[in-house]
Amino acid sequence: MTTRIDRRMAKLKSEGRPALVTYFMSGDPDYDTALSIMKALPKAGADIIEMGMPFSDPMADGPAIQAAGLRALKGGQTLVKTLKMASEFRAADQETPIVLMGYYNPIYIHGVDRFLSDALASGIDGLIVVDLPPEMDEELCIPALKAGINFIRLATPTTDDKRLPKVLQNTSGFVYYVSMTGITGSALADTGKVAAAVKCIKGHTDLPVCVGFGVKTAEQARVIGANADGVVVGTAIVNAVANVLGPKGEKTADPAEAVATLVSGLAQGVRAARLAAAE
């Protein structure tokens, strides 16, 4: 069974360039604005969309994404609204893969079976659930795979050769390599080490490997993209939204436009990576 993610990755491979994977926080700063940001992403050059599901206690995220999640929750965002946003987006875009990213509790409380059928109906293609390691695969990973939704796992610098097969076992869609030990939005890791880690993972799997955590600029996207199948950018996008919000959360400029400007630059970066890699 191929999913939108598989098809998109295959297409990019044939084009010989890495994917630009963009993360935004659904509901930040409000539903309508977030939907306009989501719609702007593919137009600006994003290949895959990661939709952040806000959670009150995002233990693996840095201050920027924490704050974005709290803004979204304050704006009334819920899991149900996040799924609604995805289906509104999907009505106008049948091609761009959507990956939900967040923490397990809101899904658990919604009910796993109900969540999976609602997610499918909303056009969701994949899930990244930070606090579900392979040891907890029975919770959501296995049911998601049965339902036809990709379960994308994080591999990290602490995932050694011995553990890697376990991490890859039920992973599908792509592998998300976390470039460093730390929270989202930290400084970018040594790119040489990242390239070596990606190569190591590719020795264990045919799945595409995307790299995230710490990529903020077009130049970084180009460098990381030269040795990976995709580059994930999150905190920089969330910051682009925060930068056009005033002290009381009022918009001082159009967040969708701010995000589009940033993403266009990043898209040029990943496209340049192809040229660099081809030489």
Binding site: F55, S56, D57, P58, M59, A60, G62, P63, Q66, L70, L73, T78, L79, V80, Y103, Y104, N105, P106, I107, Y108, I109, H110, V130, D131, L132, P133, P134, E135, M136, R153, L154, A155, T156, P157, T158, T159, D160, R163, V167, V178, T181, G182, I183, S186
Partner: protein, 416 residues
Amino acid sequence: MDKPAIPNSFRTGPDEQGMFGIFGGRFVAETLMPLILDLERHWNEVKNDPDFKAELTDLSTHYAGRPSKLYFAEGLTRHLREVSSAKGRGGGAKVYFKREDLNHTGSHKINNCLGQILLAKRMGKKRIIAETGAGQHGVAAATVAARFGFPCVVYMGATDVARQSPNVFRMKLLGAEVRPVTAGHGTLKDAMNEALRDWVTNVEDTYYLIGTAAGPHPYPELVRDFQSVIGTEARAQILEQEGRLPDTIIACVGGGSNAIGLFHPFLDDRQVRIIGIEAGGRGLDGVEHCASMNAGAPGVLHGNRTYLLQNADGQIMDGHSISAGLDYPGVGPEHSWLRDSGRVEYVPILDDEALEAFKLTTRVEGIIPALESAHAIAHAVKIVPDMDKDQIVIVNLSGRGDKDVHTVASMLGMEI
């Protein structure tokens, strides 16, 4: 919800996956997973190692002051018998206090910290991090870090830093760095998030010295085992002092480490009634309480599945309690399992009731209890007058109340 089948023993958990029934588990980011597996390996090595046990026992005895006394609270017993007589009941059980308040650093927290610092030393770790609410665990962690020469960072919610300034000062004196956490609402839950973020960043050299019997496996098990010295001693002491087991044992439950420590050795003594006391705050009707097992639902937070205060969308709520040590929206997973299996009863005590028990104990016993422990005493005050004179109740006096005098003074409208 279906009740789990009654097991032959209540003392065999967790299973190999770290589960107590549906509770517990290892809900952590992949970055932490190898660390948790490494911790589990070391824990399994030391838990039956006689050298490790001997070192811990020696420190517990000579450094922490164990065994703690089991004290017949004659003043409180007399008072509650008078209450019983006034009701025309003519009863009133004998009340004993397990005196964890007499330990070095003033609470049960030192038991766990001594065990974990020895584990950290064995693992070759170079740096200690901890979270704290009221500061009792932070002080105990800073104490053992000082004793064993580890640098120590304590994460503490900014709100708690403000309301527990004496403990903040103690930690600093002990050489720890106290990092106030402003994210979220600045209480224990946020401090725990921040400690986990530190751990995820400093995986190589850092040991996370968690303060309660919660978090990802194996923490609930190892903290329980380090705290079980409370119940093991109490059980032997009551047999020696009274020649029989108690009728009822009571302890307060925030994360639940002092409670599981007292309860665990008694779990298979089916004739002993076991009661855990949650913070009822200003009442369970509103949101100003921390009674996760009475008013919450099972969910996943901080590495484990357990009862949590949360809304219909699965967002975690901020609780309220007069006592910072009970101000946590979750509870250790073994308590959730003991609740569902029916072995332990969990009941709430309100802020006001705890405050009354605090004042009463101070007056009739000359003991200033921690506000956390005052919740457990408050429940004894409720039930003891309706028990018989030949019955026995043990209350875990988990800590002393010096740290709370500012809070109590402001509740009573007094300046100090």
